[in-house]
Symmetry: C2
Subunit: 204 residues, 2 copies
């Protein structure tokens, strides 16, 4: 008989549960196994390493937002800045999923850093072609004036992701908004749009 969810999915679910509910820290493979109610050895039947579990989880979490973003890019009838706003939104919402309560202990800081690295890496590399395509269309329609769409997309995504993640350049919520607001200003001038015209990107 086939279970509702395969062990593979069960393992990912368990890791996710541990990540959001309990403190983040370094979650041991044994813990994951215990949470999933299976033997530790079984985990290595489905995953080659602990890293691979993290990687698979990150990948799974961005399947949905990515596909919606891709659909977004195809909707040429929607104005490009509206679509950009939705990507902004996607970055914000997915980012906050990984914010967990910080406790005093620094144990497992390394694993956490790796998680953030993987997360940002995926988000930037996956969203970049989508956002670049949107920008390219915006250039064609004349809404955007800038001659390096890929570079612009990457810059925007890097700043957004890093500030949302808040690990590499930690700051208060106000400072984050200040920087994003500056990014929007820079974007307005860079794409030759009037000041304030992109303010709607700021709504969280």
């Amino acid at each position: 008989m086939q279970e509702q969810q395969s062990k593979y999915t069960l393992i990912l679910d368990s890791l996710q549960k541990l990540l959001e509910n309990k403190k983040l820290q370094s979650i041991s493979v044994s813990e994951i196994a215990q949470e999933a109610g299976i033997g530790k050895g079984s985990i290595y039947y489905y995953f080659p390493s602990k890293d691979a579990i993290l990687e698979a989880l990150v990948e799974r979490n961005y399947e949905k937002p990515l596909s919606t973003a891709q659909n977004l890019a195809a909707q040429t009838n929607i104005p490009p800045f509206t679509r950009m706003a939705m990507i902004f939104q996607a970055c914000r919402s997915t980012s906050s999923d990984y914010l967990k309560p910080q406790d005093g202990s620094n144990i497992g800081a390394a694993e956490e850093a790796l998680l953030h690295q993987k997360y940002m890496n995926h988000l930037i590399s996956e969203f970049k072609p989508v956002l670049a395509e949107i920008i390219r269309q915006g250039i064609k329609t004349g809404d955007i004036r800038f001659d390096k769409p890929e570079a612009l997309a990457e810059i925007v995504l890097i700043v957004l992701t890093v500030k949302m993640d808040n690990t590499i350049a930690p700051s208060s919520r106000e400072e984050i908004e200040e920087t994003i607001s500056g990014l929007v200003s820079l974007l307005e001038k860079g794409t030759e749009n009037p000041p304030g015209s992109l303010n709607f990107l700021l709504n969280s």
Copy 2:
């Protein structure tokens, strides 16, 4: 009798040597002790944790470039963009110090991610006020037109650091240059300077 260098310094030197000479990976505390020619327990007399050693090393490595950057910021007779170029240069040179030969094994990827995170964190947070001050002076002299100096400084530093580190958004050397070139274009438009006027920022 006082040794030429304290054990504290010796430990940092040993870690640095291990980081640059051998493959990066996860360097164990025992290894550091062996390299330094001291007992493992002694390390914990000078440092509370392995993390603290990394942190101290990162901090030490940016003492010098930071102080020169701070001196730079004070030199109001030098045009602001020249000083900015020197900060660009500082980012580039310090970044490459940590690029090490990549081998196939993924062991210790977590520790490496932590190192990169610490490194970028320090670089951005330390350079930000300096660069912001330079920008602020540029605004006063009329060389720069932008109303959020801190935000602009942070954006520039984030993009520079992330691209130089090449861990969060890995790409080829050409792609890196492309993105930086895009950043410069964006900067030119954003600060209301003519296209190409900031090209000298690109020289590595």
